[in-house]
């Protein structure tokens, strides 16, 4: 558990989710690539501008593509909403969360940056999501008469 936490929060862990470092004056870290394996790692390195510093244009285009595709999936889900019934709402929320993370982690560099930024932003996200969800639950279910 502790090591999982470390891998998730520390940038020097070496899990497959670990993307290249920002600090460019450090020696190049050994590259495993985003999902492991030398073959993918090679592509990854090209994508990320030689894998030296932060991600490069190729990688950004990829994220942009990802965002567009997820948006299209969202709209498609909306179109077939009648088929999915109430299920399309949680699905949509998950997809928008993916987009959200995509922009925050990569476009806003949070994934490559100092952890303090993540904490600053994450703390307010946690407080915000907590209290506003609580508020919605309260107004949705709060004043039902007791059985």
């Amino acid at each position: 558990m502790a090591s999982l936490w470390r891998k998730l929060t520390h940038h020097d862990g070496n899990g497959w989710w670990n993307l290249p470092h920002t600090a460019s004056n450090e020696p190049n870290p050994p590259h495993e690539g985003p999902i492991g394996g030398a073959w993918l790692g090679n592509i990854w390195r090209i994508m990320t501008y030689g894998g030296v510093s932060h991600a490069g244009p190729g990688f950004y285009w990829l994220v942009g593509l990802f965002l567009s595709i997820v948006t299209l999936i969202e709209v498609w889900l909306f179109d077939i909403g009648a088929v999915l019934g109430g299920w399309y709402i949680p699905l949509l929320l998950i997809l928008s969360l993916l987009k959200f993370i995509g922009v925050v982690a990569f476009f806003m560099h949070l994934r490559f940056d100092h952890r303090l930024f993540t904490y600053l932003f994450g703390a307010s996200m946690v407080v915000g999501i907590f209290i506003f969800t609580l508020l919605l639950l309260l107004l949705e279910f709060g004043n039902q008469p007791p059985n």
Partner: protein, 631 residues
Amino acid sequence: MTTNALTFPRFFPRPQSETGIWGWIGTVDHKRIGTLYGITSFLWFLVAGVEALLIRVQLASAENTFIGPEFYNQLFTMHGTTMVFLVIMPLSAAFFNWLIPLQIGARDVAFPRLNALSYWVFLFGSLIMNAGWITGDAPNGGWFGYAPNSGVTFNPGLGMTYWVVGLNILGVASIAAGLNFIITIINMRAPGMSMFKMPVFTWMTLVTSVLLVLAMPILAVAGIQLQTDRVYGTHFFNSLAGGDPVMWQHIFWLFGHPEVYILILPAMGIVSEVLPTFSRKPLFGYAFVVFAGIVIGFMGWFVWSHHMFTVGLGPAANTAFAMSTMLIAVPTGVKIFNWIGTMWRGNIQLNTAMLFSISFIAMFTIGGLSGVMHASPPTDSQQQDTYFIVAHFHYVLVGGALLGIFSGIYFWWPKFTGWFLNEKLGIANWALMLIGMNLQFGPQHWLGMDGMPRRIYTYAENMGWEGSNLAASIGGFILGFGILLFMINIVYSRMNKKIAPADPWDGRTLEWSTSSPPPVHDFDEIPVVVYRDDFWFKKHPETISEYYHNDHDVEDIAPSATQTAEEHEDDHGGHEGIHLPDKSYYPFILGVGIAIFGIGFLTNTYVIAAGVPIFLWGMLGWSMEPVNDPT
């Protein structure tokens, strides 16, 4: 370096003067801004105090006709709003400004111009908030502005619009100040000062600033919604169109409860500095006090509905919020025990600052306990909207926040000015305030239990409330006389100046290591911190072994600190290298722009358009002005 910076046409030269009105308008010095905050909020304190005394005169006897219901509504609304937003918050801000850079060993805050902007925006916001006194329709909807009573249907005229516009402008100031102090504390500490070597006041400032930054936007949302409802006819709180007035209560208290801690945490920080100094012991359980503060700052978000127990949220919600509210009393209790533990077997020195701090503990405990009483929904439905609640929060805010702040004033006055406040007058001031507040708010407990409702301008003769109310009114005047004595003390001490040395109390934290008052650049040399309470242990090295049992604890810290210090010297190149932030007029100009926006919301949309050029002038000038910020 080849620079190609953009330049911006300048209409007048950059401020240079240190004195006179232009010196103050152009200032970015955290000490002067702290002074501005202090003076302004003290003036508002007098205004709100007079409002309180008028209320007390009216309530001194039954069926009194001294003031009518309309004026009474305005008085209690503005008394509450002023005390919360224009007195306790900015008085705390005055302490933040003065002390944070000094306590962490910095030469200024992280963003000196933003700091000046906060002050100017606060000043203009407070003026707009009070403009109703001049036009004759002061806000009258209570400090919480409950919809729909604050809406335009039930409250036509400009009154509540002043309130909501003023509040939103003050919100800008608070958010800017909060951001500034977060960054300052995170990023401007002296070499060696890790987070857990920071003074507790600095810690409480950090927690308060985080709360400000996260809570004020919610108030801004409530304000914008009420504002558009009032001015542009939207339906946020209009039940005829499907809106829900209860939403106002939710949003307001989502802000309002963290706000309670915004008001009290700075005072807790002050007391945590005063008690160890005059007990001649380090703070008992530093980590507990700090973590209790952080826990309060977090849990404070999950209790807001205890202000709404009688709204009818349902048993499940009431139970949940009752439990979270009772739970949040635990970290508060932890702090109280730590303060008592600090004094335990200490070598206690009873001077004015210490007396204020000790009575803070006592009064705050009373207020806290009556607060836990109405954490229980059945009890609360008995107490809601009665004078019991009034007694509760006055014990917390006067007995807590205000006594804490006065303790801080007496404690740091020699540091701020270079001379002492008179102790005899100080003790009289303390005694009058303490007796006055107890006589004023004590009887309100049983008045409330007896069913006397809040916010009524008078009461019937045969209710049996006259005696207690008269006592409360007398208490109010005693309290007021205490404040008067404080002002007399300032004048008297100023005339018979008793010069203060740099370290008059044998203090513990870094601010006492520099001269009184501090030089413009705060520290001739940026201190290097090895210990918690570093200044104390450097003065009294023989006590180190008492508190640092593990030798390698110290060694761990020491080398890295000296190393950083060397690097530091390289950067600044000693004395001549001290650079201070340059003065600037742009914070003032930007503040004026924001104030004009506010006036525009009150009067005419075209006025907003008139504010745009001034606002843009401020923004562009600000961003293109060459700066010497401590970054």
